[in-house]
Structure formats: structure tokens, C-alpha cells
Amino acid sequence: MTYTTAIFYFFAAILVFAGLRVITARNPVHAALFLVLAFFTAAGLWMLLEAEFLAITLVLVYVGAVMVLFLFVVMMLDINLDKLREGFWDYLPLAGFVSVLLMVEMALILGSRHFGLEVMGTPVPHPADYSNTKELGRLLYTDYVYAFELAAVILLVAIVAAIALTLRRRKDSKYIDPAAQVRVKRNDRLRIIKMQAVKKPQAGEGEA
């Protein structure tokens, strides 16, 4: 067993454990945090495959942004666990069917016919100055540029649609327009009037 193999098994064990805890943890916040651990460990495994760009992006996007928002939502929800577990046996047949289907699909693709040792072989280790990032960038923007642009456009449409669906203008909500605040002039708010400071007391007045 080499050092790399030992590290692989170490990471794999943590990944499997974290994955199991995601579905078994009673507290949803704990489950979300175990999912973070699972992502981070998966990134470590990808790093072993010399896919440093994908590994770091996994951490940056999923751990650094997506899971933060997940956790954000999960923490604010008032989840009643007993109520969630109510219909467990009713849903079991459907869930079992879906999971068997998933297993069959994975077995079809990931079998030894496509990923066996004689098909894939041992990857050749790259020299230290090999830049995985540069290589990926070159492929994405040359060979796969149409697929890449298409994916970008679909994402853009999704962003615009998400905003369009949730945007609503209420007449009665009060909000500040910073541009109007900046543009405001003294004369809009302040009126200076000339007046005598103090009225001079007239002689003989006041005593009566």
C-alpha cells in the first residue's frame, strides 16, 4: 500500500461515513454540515486524481456558496421531525423503486465494460508544472465551445426567469432611492426666512 492509496482509503472512509450521516442524522443542521464534509472530502479525492481545478471549484461553489445558503434556509426552518417521518412506510415502495432504478442506471454505465482496467488503464501521472486549469480552459473554449456557450445561455435564462418570477412591485412598500438622496439640494429641504432676531420692547409696555 503506497502513501497515496492510504490517503485514498482515509478520504473514502470519511466520505462514506459523512454520506451515511447526511441521511441518518436527526438534526437537519447536522445533516447539512455532514454534506459539507462529504463535498470537502470528495474534493480531496479529486485532488488525488490531479483534477485540481475541479476539486477547488467544488469547494468554492458547493461548499463556499451553495451549502451556505442551504444551511441558511435549514437553520431558519422550524422542522418537526416526527411529522416528517409520518408517512415513511407509505412512501417506501415508491422510494425503493426509484433507488433500484438509480442502481440499475449506474450499473449500466459504471460497469467494467466501460470503466474496467483494460478499458481505462492506469492514468499517467503528470509533471509538476502541468496546469489542469489551463488544459480545461483550452478544451472548453475550443473543442466544446458551442456546448459551453449553450449551457451559459440556459443558465442566463434561468437567472432571468428566477428574478422575473419573484419580482413584484408593491406600491405601499417604503424604500429609499439612493440616487434621489444624492441629488437632493439644500433648497429642496430648507427655507431661509429673514426675520428680526428679537422684538425691541416698547417703552411703557409690559407693566400694565
Binding site: 500500500m1 503506497t2 502513501y3 492510504a6 443542521v29 447536522h30 454540515l33 459539507v36 470537502f40 485540481e52 481545478f53 477547488i56 471549484t57 469547494v59 468554492l60 461548499v63 463556499g64 456558496a65 451556505v68 445558503l69 444551511l71 441558511f72 437553520m75 431558519m76 508544472d129 496546469s131 489542469n132 486549469t133 429609499i176 439612493p178
Partner: protein, 338 residues
């Protein structure tokens, strides 16, 4: 078996790396300690006060006294708290703050790990720091702490986007993700630094850096006048000190990154003076001084203003400037941008 392949050379490498990590972390922790001293002194002078001057000559031993005091204090765990996560919170904050330092170069040869995707690594690792804040706020089982954690999470996620876009500008100019290469790309004196062609991105990065580290005027996560101390209100003793250490280590990190990405790192501003670590130190010190200056000058932002600044001002600025830079690079004037 494992013990067969882990030969003497591997153990030596491990020991050597550990020594190097120590040589990085110990000065960093000292830097953190004396940054707190500098902060109190400088803000004191700005407010026409003296600042700490009792412990040691001119108060120079004050950070040591503070550290000893915090070490001796009891760590109180609130009865309703989630104990495991309550302890984990500070660890999750300090670990990324220190881990990011692994790829920061101090001179062209003095760097712990000179990796290709250094800039990406820093972004990924620093984005993990928010978990400590959220976990600490949630595990405290206190409304103030939870509110602080929520504010901090939303703020950090928002400003990370603007910060990331600012870094995209830098990597386009340098055409590399390696921090040493990025600094080497700025060789040739003051006018070659990326601060000039990327000036809008520099401003965005600097301000987003202040926001990312939860420093004033963006310190709503711990706004003491509204939510007492935010996410770390329930922490005492060393657990609190760890949050404090992480905040200052992150400040130094952002200052060091600003130096490396926009101010030419260890390069000398004029060609007749030699390059060296002293320039790195001076520039980082200057950016840190800006942090303290901001804190002494600006009142705290209102929360909706923070969100507006991040999403509606910074992100459009960075996107426009990235388009400008990439467009200019296709013209004969592209040399101005790298």
C-alpha cells in the same frame, strides 16, 4: 504495508514541512498580536487618546497580557447550546484563516507551497470561513448570536462574488493563477503594478476585503449597539480569542493578497532599489493601516445599504471592467493591461 513505504525520506519531508508551517504560523500569530496593539494605538491617536501604555515600554507587552488573561479565563458553554458544534465553531473559523497562508509568497522563492492554482485555492479556502461563523451563531442557542450569524452569512456570500470577479480581472491581466507568477507579471517599477490598469477592481477588492473580514464599517455581524456582539456573544476566554485571532489573521491575509495582486508584492516601486521582503511588509502594513483608518473614520453601514453596495454597485462595476479589460486585450493597446 504502510510502514514499509513510509520510509525515512518521507518522514524527513513531513518533519521539514511541519517546521516550515511553524516558521509561518508563529510570526503570523505575533503579527496578529501586534496588529491588535497597532489598532488600539493608531485609533487612539486618531481620537486624540494615548492608547495602551501601562504594560511594558509604551504598552508593548499589552497583547501578551491580553493573551494570558484570555487563556486563564473559563470557557463557559451555555446550557442550551449544541456542545459539539459550539466547540467546533471557533476551529472552523481559524483553520481556513491559517490554511490560506500556505500559498502566500513572501519573496519569489520564499513560499510554503508554490502551486499552480494558488489564487483559486485562496478563494476556495477563505470561502470556508463563513461556516465557523454560522455554526457558532447557531450552536450558541441565542437570538443575538443567531442574528449575527445570519447577517454575516448573507454579507460574506454577497461580497465573495464581487471579490471573485475582481480576481478574475487580475488573472486575466497576469494570465496565471499562480501567485508568484502574478507578482512577476508586475515587474518593472511602480507604473507596471496592476493597480493602474485594474484600478476599479482594486477599489472593489479592497472594500470587499473589509466586508469579508467583518471589519468596520461592515461589522453588522457583531454590531455591538444592536446585537451585543453578534455571533460570538456567548463565547468567553480562549474560544473568544480564537475568533479574534482568526479575524486579524484574515485581515493580514486580505492585506497581503491586495499587496500581491495589485501592488507588486515584494517588488520594489523603483528599479534602482533591490526587490525584497521589506517591500512586501511595507505594502501590507500600509493596507492594514487603511483597515484601521476605515474603522476610525466611517460609521457602520445600514444592512440594506451593505447589500445594495455589494449587489448593485460592486458586481456591475467588476463585470463592466472585466469586459473592458478583455476587450482592450484584443486591440493593439492590450499591453497596457498586462
Amino acid at each position: 504495508m504502510l510502514d514499509m513505504s513510509l520510509d525515512w525520506a518521507a518522514i524527513q519531508t513531513l518533519a521539514w514541512t511541519l517546521l516550515k508551517i511553524m516558521a509561518l504560523v508563529v510570526p503570523l500569530m505575533l503579527g496578529v498580536a501586534y496588529l491588535t496593539y497597532a489598532e488600539r494605538k493608531i485609533i487612539g491617536w486618531m481620537q486624540v487618546r494615548i492608547g495602551p501604555n501601562r504594560v511594558g515600554f509604551q504598552g508593548l507587552l499589552q497583547p501578551i497580557a491580553d493573551a494570558v488573561k484570555l487563556l486563564m479565563k473559563e470557557i463557559i458553554i451555555p446550557s442550551g447550546a449544541n456542545k459539539g458544534l459550539f466547540i467546533l465553531g471557533p476551529i472552523l473559523v481559524i483553520a481556513p484563516a491559517l490554511a490560506a497562508w500556505a500559498v502566500i509568497p513572501f519573496t519569489d522563492t520564499l513560499v510554503l507551497a508554490d502551486i499552480n492554482a494558488g489564487l483559486l485555492y485562496v478563494m476556495a479556502i477563505t470561502s470556508m470561513g463563513v461556516y465557523g461563523v454560522i455554526v457558532a451563531g447557531w450552536a450558541s442557542n441565542s437570538k443575538y448570536a443567531f442574528l449575527g450569524a445570519m447577517r454575516s452569512a448573507a454579507q460574506i456570500v454577497s461580497y465573495e462574488i464581487a471579490m471573485g470577479f475582481a480576481l478574475v480581472g487580475v488573472l486575466m491581466a497576469a494570465q496565471s493563477l499562480n501567485l508568484t507568477d502574478i507578482v512577476q507579471g508586475q515587474t518593472g517599477g511602480l507604473h507596471q503594478w496592476y493597480i493602474w490598469p485594474l484600478f476599479p477592481l482594486f477599489i472593489v477588492y479592497l472594500i470587499a476585503g473589509v466586508a469579508e473580514t467583518n471589519r468596520a464599517p461592515f461589522d453588522v455581524a457583531e454590531g455591538e449597539s444592536e446585537i451585543v456582539a453578534g455571533f460570538h456573544v456567548e463565547y468567553s476566554g480562549m474560544a473568544f480569542a480564537v475568533f479574534f485571532l482568526a479575524e486579524y489573521a484574515n485581515m493580514i491575509l486580505v492585506a497581503a493578497l491586495t499587496t500581491l495582486l495589485f501592488l507588486g508584492g515584494w517588488l520594489s516601486p523603483v528599479t534602482f532599489l533591490p526587490d525584497g521582503f521589506i517591500w512586501w511588509l511595507l505594502k501590507t502594513g500600509f493596507v492594514l493601516f487603511l483597515f484601521l483608518w476605515f474603522r476610525a473614520t466611517f460609521p457602520r453601514y445600514r444592512y440594506d445599504q451593505i447589500m445594495r453596495l455589494g449587489w448593485k454597485v460592486f458586481i456591475p462595476i467588476t463585470i463592466v471592467w472585466i469586459v473592458v479589460v478583455s476587450g482592450m486585450m484584443q486591440t493593439p493597446y492590450g499591453y497596457l493591461f498586462h
